[in-house]
């Protein structure tokens, strides 16, 4: 290649990059900005899924002084398959959280999920062990794959989808709590509170799996969904997490932590750090830092345990080695 051609190509690339930056400034990819001046995260120690979990979660919630009085609270756990621990958010944690929000004055607590792999939601709910808890506490469960739907214009433009049909059970909630299982993910790198929101997209319309989201880009779809349905709070299940070939075939990893946060990006960034990852290597977290929340440690107030420095990184598939913090 001649010097002139190289120069011309270099100049064209530089011009394209400049135009790209300008386009992003002039025509931003999102129409909302949920970032706080300071986000709050509490990492709580919890060794087992036991009766005592309710008090641990309650103490954690009180650190945030959140007001849910009179609200309809939606708990969105991560229920994926009829497989044993640690694939799904543990039902003991879901039950404890439901009771805590009722104690805090919530008018109604509803658990909602639309599994992305298994078409038979009932099978997953049973296998996850959630049914007895729901029955005992008379907590309503909404199958988000088959709920009544409303067409919603997306508040970000990363995926190009423009709009999605979303469940009434989600849109009618005053306070959305994402309750992910802390896991590695063979497409997205990690599956935490933001990725967990794939479960609000109805299978009835988009199928099992919700493949249209994959074709439009997993990270891009996550950003668009979370821009449109804001997560008000996160309670992440890291008591027994998953490493390796997640989200289905990884291996259990005893982390012994629950992560509470009032900002999903701060929550996921903290979970990523607990996994020994660099959060900004996760694309939906780095892009999400422009409008969904704060991933940087200096914008996060740690209300409980410090993160600690001796973290053994989670095992990852070779394709995701770049996530591991140096």
């Amino acid at each position: 290649m001649s010097i002139n051609r190289r120069r011309a190509l270099g100049a064209a690339a530089a011009a394209a990059a400049t135009v790209g930056v300008e386009a992003r400034t002039l025509w931003p990819q999102h129409t909302v900005d949920y970032r706080r001046a300071q986000s709050r995260v509490a990492v709580l120690n919890a060794e087992a899924y036991s009766e005592g979990l309710e008090e641990t979660v309650f103490r954690g919630l009180r650190l945030f002084r959140i007001n849910v009085r009179g609200m309809r609270v939606l708990l969105k756990p991560n229920l994926v398959e009829d497989l044993p621990e640690p694939v799904n958010t543990n039902p003991v944690l879901v039950g404890a959280t439901a009771r805590c929000f009722l104690r805090l004055g919530a008018r109604q607590v509803v658990v909602g999920e639309g599994p992305g792999h298994q078409r038979d939601t009932e099978l997953v709910v049973e296998a996850a062990g959630l049914r007895p808890m729901l029955r005992e506490k008379q907590i309503e469960f909404v199958d988000l794959n088959r709920d009544e739907l409303r067409r919603v214009r997306l508040k970000a433009r990363y995926s190009g989808l423009g709009e999605l049909w979303l469940p009434r059970g989600v849109l009618a909630s005053d306070f959305v709590v994402s309750m992910p299982k802390i896991k590695t993910h063979h497409w997205a790198g990690v599956t935490l509170s933001l990725k967990n929101m794939f479960g609000i997209v109805p299978g009835m319309k988009y199928g099992w799996p919700k493949n249209l989201l994959h074709w439009h880009g997993i990270h891009e779809s996550i950003l668009d969904i979370c821009a449109t349905v804001p997560i008000h709070f996160v309670i992440a299940d890291g008591i027994i997490a998953m490493e390796g070939n997640g989200p289905l075939q990884g291996t259990p990893r005893e982390l012994g932590k629950i992560v509470l946060a009032d900002d999903p990006v701060a929550a996921d960034a903290t979970c990523a750090r607990l996994m020994g990852f660099d959060p900004l290597q996760v694309r939906h977290l780095s892009d999400g830092s422009r409008f969904l929340g704060n991933p940087r440690a200096d914008r996060i107030a740690m209300l409980a345990e410090p993160l600690g420095t001796r973290i053994r990184p989670f095992a990852v598939l070779p394709e995701f080695q770049y996530l591991v913090a140096q």
Partner: protein, 263 residues
């Protein structure tokens, strides 16, 4: 499916009218009332019209839409991508079926429902285009089968690790293959489904299992009894799709099987 579960004639007629009025101009049916895009439910609607013996030009329009619809990997560019740079999921992109909705890849359940509907509608006079599309869909199902039999949504091996089958997907895929020549995949899948049926406690999965095993002349009475016990008075069933398939499964053997394919 709700229509098939109804018995009084007046209700059935008004449900049928609703079904016909819901068809979109392009011949497809939307996933639900109010949506304007064609979807996987088109095959269910076509099956319903065929097995209730309603001849309607709606069927021809639905068939035309089904024959034109395909998973995105049916496009040469995506086939090339999946053959060369994206090999994390093991599948043959030359063998494609039907997506849940337009613009996505092929998956097991919508492919199986589409195969059943096309086979049912064209059983008396099948043209080359329908036969070719059926053969491609059948090959896709065999290609996506799990290693030890059965099917899940459509990923049998990911990152070199075999994934496990699902009850519903296996039952529905077997329904689509009921008239095909028996082979090792079908036999292994039937065996898996029979064994798994003994412990299934969910109404929907058990109902699909009953409908499927019946077409292979397997005994279903015990499974029907268990299904009746599980659902009780039916008040716990919260969605119409499950209610409809449960009704059909409980009456399986007493009425025309809605997913039966004649040879």
């Amino acid at each position: 499916m709700s229509l098939l579960g109804l018995s009084p004639e007046r209700e059935s007629a008004s449900a049928f009218e609703f079904l016909l009025n819901s068809q979109l101009a392009n011949g497809a049916w939307p996933a639900f009332r109010g949506d304007t895009e064609g979807s996987w439910t088109t095959s269910l609607a076509l099956s319903t019209i065929v097995v209730t013996n309603h001849t309607s030009e709606a069927c021809q329009r639905a068939l035309k839409w089904l024959l034109a619809e395909k998973g995105e990997e049916g496009h040469w560019l995506w086939r090339w991508k999946f053959k060369t740079v994206d090999r994390n999921v093991r599948f043959d992109p030359d063998k494609y079926g039907w997506p849940w909705n337009h613009g996505a890849g092929s998956w097991v359940i919508p492919t199986a429902f589409s195969l059943i509907a096309i086979k049912q509608y064209t059983v008396c006079a099948r043209r080359e285009a329908s036969e070719a599309r059926i053969r491609l869909g059948v090959e896709m199902l065999f290609d996506r089968a799990c290693v030890d039999g059965g099917w899940n949504s459509g990923n049998s091996i990911v990152y070199g690790v075999p994934l496990r089958p699902h009850v519903e997907a296996t039952a529905i895929a077997l329904l689509a293959l009921q008239d095909e020549r028996r082979n090792e995949v079908v036999d292994k899948s039937l065996l898996w489904l029979r064994q798994r049926a003994a412990t299934v406690r969910s109404a929907s999965s058990l109902a699909w299992t009953i409908l499927s095993l019946f077409t292979y002349r397997e005994p279903i009475q015990q499974l029907q009894d268990r299904l009746a016990y599980i659902i009780g008075d039916g008040t716990d069933i919260r969605n119409n799709a499950t209610l409809a398939v449960v009704l059909l499964a409980l009456r399986c053997g007493e009425m025309i099987h809605p997913f039966m394919v004649l040879r």
